[in-house]
């Protein structure tokens, strides 16, 4: 089978989703942030599909989102305005950052869909009241889905949703463990394709693909040097062109990452309990947080990322951020300071919609030379 299947789902996501919809007759809901409770959608036999950008310059969002907001949210909205997700039956967002919220609200205003839902996911996720609050919001969301579909969602349906998502998370964690190896059997790029395939594909199918891939990876040897072990940290990052350049041209490997198109998406599971909605609320409040939900001192996300860096033997960290991404901008100086203090040098890069491969290659090469302490002359 090979890893190509995940890449194929990522690159041909719309074709995949249209064909899948035709084949299964399932409704599809597009979601804008990984705090979306996918379990409830699967409980209703709805396929949740993440809405991401296309990394192409566009000119359709200027009337809708003021230019000081991140290029990612504008790229996301552009997909809707260009009709690329025209197969969606509905959209939803679980409250996250201001920026992507605008993509959702403009989509809601200008692109007709049969169902649109704003879920006020708490920001202060560590507070005692956050879980009961979210629990009720999840029930309200379930009720809204029921009203829309006309189908009652039973406790066993929620169990089914939890099982599907937990399987995805368990399998991905097993793959991630393999990346700890001295010579990881999977590149960072392949790993990101896997996560993205999970966000775009029907997990009931993707889980089978993950299982097959995992079996293959256990004995796989790849014909390349691992080079420097890197971690990539930051805002949404499916900038495959960049990851590919670092791994194939600069001679390094991403063995770990902290972003919502990577580990943050799947790291923790729903721990079953009698009250299914309380179990779901606990999972979403306890996952590695997005910076907008991390107010702790020291930052929970920073403690988590440093621990991952140590466990995965990271030699250097590339900290990336979407231009204008406030939540990350507010964390980056603290992250750089803490990583440097832990003996892990950092390189900071600011991303836009497209990746400036030339300039970034020069900066990554220089960073790697520093890591290798190469004698240049």
């Amino acid at each position: 089978m090979g890893m190509e299947v995940f890449k194929d789902i990522y690159e041909n996501r719309h074709k995949y989703q249209k064909e899948w919809k035709e084949k299964t007759g399932s409704k599809m809901i597009g979601y804008f942030c990984t705090y979306a409770p996918e379990e409830i959608m699967y409980a209703a036999d709805i396929i949740p599909v993440r809405i991401l950008g296309s990394h192409e310059p566009q000119n359709v969002t200027e009337p809708h989102i003021f230019g000081m907001y991140c290029p990612f949210c504008r790229d996301v909205l552009a997909q809707g305005l260009k009709g690329r997700y025209d197969y969606l039956d509905g959209i939803m967002i679980a409250q996250s950052c201001l920026h992507v919220r605008q993509a959702y609200t403009s989509w809601d205003l200008h692109i007709p869909v049969g169902f649109s839902y704003y879920l006020p996911m708490p920001h202060r996720v560590t507070n005692a009241g956050a879980k009961p609050f979210l629990r009720q919001e999840l029930i309200d969301f379930k009720n809204a889905i029921e009203a829309w579909t006309g189908k009652t969602i039973l406790p066993e349906d929620i169990d089914k949703g939890i099982e599907i998502l937990n399987t995805t998370r368990r399998l991905l964690r097993q793959v991630w463990d393999l990346r700890k190896a001295e010579n990881p059997p999977i590149t960072g790029q392949e790993a990101i394709y896997m996560v993205l395939a999970c966000q775009f594909g029907d997990k009931r199918e993707v889980n089978k693909l993950l299982e097959e891939a995992l079996n293959e990876l256990k004995t796989r040897k790849i014909d390349r040097e691992t080079g420097n072990r890197l971690m990539i940290i930051g805002s949404e990052d499916d900038d495959i062109a960049f990851i590919n350049m670092v791994e194939t041209i600069c001679g390094a490997t991403f063995v770990m990452e902290d972003h919502c198109t990577g580990s943050r998406y799947f790291w923790n599971q729903v721990v079953p309990q009698e009250d299914r909605y309380a179990a779901l609320a606990a999972r979403y409040c306890e996952r590695p947080p997005c910076p907008t939900k991390d107010w702790a001192q020291p930052r929970d996300r920073l403690v988590w990322a440093l621990d991952m860096a140590k466990q995965w033997g990271v030699e250097g960290a590339i900290i990336v951020q979407q231009k204008f991404c406030d939540p990350h901008e507010l964390d980056i100086p603290a992250f750089r300071k803490a990583f440097e203090a832990a003996g892990i040098p950092t390189l900071f890069l600011e991303f836009d919609v497209t990746v400036p491969l030339g300039p970034f290659r020069i900066r990554v090469d220089a960073f790697l030379e520093m890591l290798r302490q190469e004698d240049l002359f």
Partner: protein, 442 residues
Amino acid sequence: MSKGQLYPTEPLKTWGLAKQAREDFYLDYRDCHAKGGIRWAGGAWALDALTYGLGDDVFSITSEPYGASCAFNKDIAMKCMMTTEKYGYARDLCAYMRIYWGSVLTKGTYPWGGDYPIPDFIYQDHICCSHAKWYQVIVDHEPQIPMTCIDVAAGPFMPGTDVKIKPHAVKYVADQMLEAAEWLEKTTGRKFDDEKFIEAVKTECVNTSLWADICALNKAVPAPIDEKTMYSLYVLNTLCKANKRITPVLKEVYEDVKDRVARGIAAVPNEKARIMSDTQPPWGFLKVFRYLERYGVVSIGSLYTFGLMGIWEVKEDGTWGGRTLPWEKGVEIKTREQAAYVNADWNLSKPEFQHFYHPKYKTRMMSRIAKEWKLDGVMLHYNRGCEGLSLGIAENRLGLLKAGVPVMTFEGNMGDEREFDEVATMARIDAFMETLGLKKDY
């Protein structure tokens, strides 16, 4: 009356009173330690009524008005922002926040003299991405300061409309306040006084409803006060909306403005057209509003000046006015729990909170203002300095145009003069005035 003058005008009688109250706030904060008092820092939206449970000698500094005060002094603002940039923080972050951080990190930048007075604790709230993180960064640099923060992003609520708040959402915020009361006791070593807290909750209701009523008086033609003046008045509630010392000042202002309406006293004597603005102005360039007067245009305020610290509802006759006080609806506050619930419910209905959930709410409120305050147009400030209050602003423009309200936009920054083009802005105003059929009087 001079040539071109259509209405009589005179200075606001309560102007000096309001200015003094503002100055006292900053001096009290600075000097309170000498009198055994406590000082704390948090945003203007912090649920500050709670802190009055610690006693009458507890003084705060509210970060956004503080940033605005510094921004009015361009030299201080620039010094602060450059310091912040040197520490590695991005230039596109909230301008108030960058100024505030810079003031903490730089010697001698407290506008009322001396260094920034370090607070005893931080008590913040969070609805915009920057709010809790703002003070998290402060604690990065001043780790000895204890901090807590309340999440108020619990869902939209517009009293008198179909946008209702869910009881569990109010409880979520109220429960955090109750937790915070215990935290305040532990942090300061002072006993929390429920009576004082209840009194502060009531005071906040009075002050913020009263401010809405003052703004509603500006529906009169000619407008008794203009927006530039309003900035010096609305600020009182942004500083200490639950402070009983503010109530008599606001009551006097209310009577003063009401008297002006009765006597036909205009803020702009040549008033021929009425507009509103939006979000914070570029504080270093308030002369924009005086420039409008040359066309006989008065800016009657904005959703920002009305709704940042004014609490509103739709009245029985369908118009907008100050929200009815809880006890006028039979709600008697007797316990700490009740007070927290009432205060949470009250704050969640803040008009400026609603567009964090969807721009359609803000468009709806702005369209209402345009109609009830008899406006000829709207000036939208595409404010690069505030991600929170510029949220959805492009959709507001489209929504207002659809509602038939002429709109102009100008790009700027409330606190960073490097992002404001004065000449270009004036040129845009000229063009807008031309479309409204107006010519300069002088």
